[in-house]
């Protein structure tokens, strides 16, 4: 199963309420995914000379020590905000440089997201527990994706949870299952894409990362995905400026979209969208199979 939700605010004055909207949608999708929950949130883009990364550590972690070491080694200003098991790092340094340093010096940390605006948080457990732990109601932003997971293909861990980062300011959430993920994972590794788990959705994320690296636009990569990804899927893909939705050609996995003057939303089911203000008067439709939909500014 799994539930996916996405919201893009057309009315910027609603930005402070984004976390609350997302929380209500996620909790409504608990029946579809009680194993784990996660979100990708886009807010407060950093200047071009800086980068923003979300890091995850297991157990208690000396984040203060990391900040000091990072500032010293990278000779950069480093700001670090802790949120539950995650921390958002903003550094006045080149993102590849930061990623390299973290990979070499701190392999115990997992880089959840990298870019200028994206933040990814995900954890095992019920959506409502996730919402409480990560204080979702306090989070602002311009747009966000969320996922509630009912695991079918691989283990229930934080690493196996969605969203998966697919590159700078990009991420993917997936409802469905891929059947050719083992072969594809091997191909992606041969192409030098770092696929970390045995999760099928991570392979879809890795596939997009590879295609974008090869020069495809997001739309081109998704169209190519229709040919190369075998299985059932409704994908929502977060970008710096909005989000995209794609269903496989059979379209067994549900998806519904809605739009008002204030927002555009997508979800596995309408009842998540029903939580949003003005949903009763929204224009509502079902995305067609094998068709790429995009929203953004």
């Amino acid at each position: 199963m799994c539930g996916i939700v996405g919201i893009y605010l057309k009315n910027e004055s609603l930005n402070p309420e984004l976390g609350g909207f997302l929380a209500a949608m996620l909790v409504e999708m608990s029946d579809r995914g009680p194993d784990s929950a996660g979100i990708a949130l886009y807010r407060d883009p950093v200047p071009e000379s800086s980068c923003k990364l979300t890091l995850h550590a297991s157990g208690s972690y000396d984040w203060g020590g990391l900040r000091t070491a990072m500032a010293a080694h990278l000779k950069a200003d480093v700001k670090l905000d802790i949120l539950a098991s995650h921390a958002v790092v903003i550094a006045s340094a080149d993102v590849a440089h930061v990623q390299d340093w973290l990979g070499k010096e701190h392999p115990e940390l997992r880089i959840m997201s990298a870019g200028s605006a994206i933040e990814i948080y995900k954890e095992k457990g019920l959506p409502r527990e996730f919402v409480r732990q990560f204080r979702l109601h306090e989070l602002n932003g311009s747009h966000a994706l969320g996922h509630t997971r009912m695991a079918t293909e691989s283990a229930v861990t934080t690493e196996h949870s969605h969203p998966f980062s697919t590159g700078m300011d990009l991420c993917l959430v997936h409802n469905g299952s891929l059947s050719n993920h083992n072969r594809l994972r091997q191909q992606l590794r041969n192409e030098g894409v770092d696929v970390q788990t045995d999760n099928d959705s991570e392979v879809a994320a890795g596939y997009l990362m590879w295609r974008l690296r090869e020069g495809d636009s997001l739309e081109e990569a998704l169209h190519r995905g229709l040919r190369d990804l075998d299985g059932f899927y409704t994908f929502a893909i977060g970008t710096k400026h909005g989000f995209a939705v794609l269903r496989d050609p059979i379209a067994c996995k549900p998806a519904v979209m809605a739009e008002t003057d204030d927002w555009v939303a997508m979800s596995s089911e309408f009842r998540a969208i029903a939580q949003l203000p003005g949903a009763g008067n929204a224009t509502i439709w079902e995305p067609a199979p094998a068709t790429v939909y995009t929203w953004g500014h």
Partner: protein, 223 residues
């Protein structure tokens, strides 16, 4: 009229009421996309639902007249036995799946697999339907006033499909058939009874070539 507000009443309480003491008219407000609203009714009651419903609304309906003033999620009127279900908005996938009798009217569009494995229900869609509609349809009529997606009537048995608009690729063993005066008359009556405004003369008829489900002696050596 009995009223249920699903912001305060549970779907279970609503359905229990409809099963145990059904009578007259009943209104449901704030459905909020919840699942299994007004399922398994076996009485000649009138139920009006004001808003959008989730999965399996009006499933297994017998005798009741159910109106949904909104969109319906997957599996609306699944296995309908008799009575009628009217969706004023759009319906998601497998609307009227395996329905055995009664009428399902969709005033908007229906998505994929509309009328899959239908067994006697009449389904009238004022708009268009998605791919694989009428898949393995055994009996009954599927009327599509708009367009039909690809693989229409794949592996169809003896159900009858009428389409006014364009048809994508036909499914395996589904063919266009002659529209006789009797078919037009028949269709005119059905459209009139469901209040859908469409000219019966403009429809084309599709059904089974009967090559897939009959054993062909010439293929005996293939097994």
């Amino acid at each position: 009229m009995t009223a249920f507000d699903l912001n305060s009443d549970s779907v279970r309480a609503l359905n229990q009421h409809l099963h145990e003491s059904p009578s007259g008219k009943l209104s449901v407000t704030n459905p909020g996309g919840r699942h299994c609203i007004a399922c398994g009714i076996n009485a000649a009651v009138e139920v009006s639902i004001d808003g959008h419903v989730g999965y399996y609304c009006a499933g297994m309906n017998k005798n009741a007249q159910i109106t949904i003033a909104g969109n319906a999620g997957p599996g609306v009127a699944e296995n309908i036995m008799s009575g009628s279900v009217r969706v004023k908005g759009n319906a998601s996938q497998y609307a009227g799946a395996s329905g055995q009798g009664g009428t399902l009217i969709i005033e908007g569009d229906a998505s994929a697999r509309c009328g899959i494995s239908m067994k006697g229900v009449d389904i009238v869609v004022a708009g268009s339907v998605g791919h694989m509609s009428g898949f393995m349809a055994q009996k009954g009529r599927l009327i599509i006033c708009g367009d039909a997606g690809n693989s229409l009537g794949d592996s169809i048995y003896e159900a009858c499909i009428y389409v006014r608009g364009n048809v994508g690729e036909l499914g395996a063993d589904c063919i266009e058939k002659e529209m006789t005066a009797e078919h037009t008359e028949n269709l005119k009556d059905l459209l009139a009874s469901t209040g859908i405004d469409a000219n019966a003369e403009e429809f084309r008829r599709y059904g089974s070539a009967r090559k897939l489900y009959n054993f062909n002696i010439d293929h005996a050596d293939d097994y």
